[in-house]
């Protein structure tokens, strides 16, 4: 390579049009040199390191979150229905107990039985999907037979 036979100066190598010719190693070396120059020039204050302490105290300037104050628009006795709607919207605290009940319901929203029932119907449709043509035809025939049986007229008993 040219770099072995003729030594090019570093400044020349750093130029943009020379970058293409550089192989990986010299490139890395150049970068390192540059970094060293920068870090040498970089100065810092000779101070003890500031400890980033976790701040355990949070300031809050307002009474509203401390005392759980309500929203400032009130209407009594149906004087202003719009505001009464607003009151219900902005003060959800009143329904605290109900909410708790709801939460407990949420956890058992779908019972195991319901889930099983739902998957029961899925089993059939998935089975249909993977069945061969002949099997499918057989199944459909079966179903039709069953349906016909179901629709048969039942003579009322005397």
């Amino acid at each position: 390579m040219a770099s072995e036979s003729v030594k090019l100066s570093k400044n020349l190598l750093r130029m943009k049009f020379m970058q293409r010719r550089l192989d990986a190693e010299t490139k890395k070396q150049l970068e390192e040199d540059e970094r060293r120059i920068i870090s040498d020039e970089h100065w810092y204050l000779d101070l003890p390191e500031l400890k980033a302490k976790e701040n355990l105290i949070i300031e809050e300037r307002s009474f509203v979150p401390c005392e759980d104050l309500k929203y400032g628009r009130l209407s009594f006795g149906g004087f202003n229905p719009e505001v009464e709607k607003l009151m219900a919207l902005m003060n959800p605290r009143e329904e605290e107990e109900e909410e708790e009940e709801d939460l407990s319901q949420m956890q058992t929203d779908i019972t195991d039985e319901e889930m099983a029932l739902r998957y029961e119907s899925l089993v059939g449709s998935m089975k249909k999907k993977f069945a061969t043509k002949r099997e499918r035809a057989a199944q459909e025939a079966d179903e039709e037979n069953q349906k016909e049986v179901k629709r048969a007229f039942v003579k009322p008993q005397d």
Binding site: I57, E59, E60, P65, K70, F79
Partner: protein
Amino acid sequence: MFSTVRERVGEVLLPGDEFSFEAEEKISLTAPVKSEKVVCGPGLRRCGDRLVVFKSGVLRHKEPNVFWIDSQQRRYVPAKGESIIGIVTAKSGDVFKVDFGGSEQASLSYLTFEGATKRNRPNVQVGDLVFAQFLIANKDMEPELVCIDSSGRANGMGVFGAGGLLFRVSLGLVRRLLAPHSDIRSDLEQLFPCELVVGMNGRIWVKSATVQQTLIIANLLQSAETMTAQQRQQLFRKVQQGAF
């Protein structure tokens, strides 16, 4: 960890009282490490590792770790997020100047009303009452009000106040009125149909079916300030009997 503060809950504290947590942090090394955060509300200020009291009043506590000073005052100091009743005092360019009873007037941009755009300006006149909340409430800066919440909806804020009465009470009474399970509110509820707008800055606006009823409610609220619960209930009962 904050047992020093916890011990003094319910006591009267004065400005200058301090709580320090440093000594306890050393002890807590043996105990399981818990990163308990404490919220210091109005009246308490963080100063390095210490907690300094700067209002005189009773120390209150709410689970898990909220402490504040319950004090009586009439001068309102804006706090971010609080909703207040303001009076528009000037229209200048794209902001309104609003007087809310603090040390300085707040600015209220015309764009911070529900449905307002650059073309469609809200109809706000000088002298109108606005129910607004603080977006910026910094001791070094001009406070800034908005009439919408973060999702752009008014939710009861904005211009109001046709045919009602505005009056001032102390900040403590406002807090008593808005507290959950408030006695005054439940007493008032039984009186007659009325509408109230309560600003955290101590302004209350009342509207009722007749001027007379409006005045009665205003007087009741103003006098409820210095009454015990019994006296108040007696007075409310008397008014109710007189009204019907």
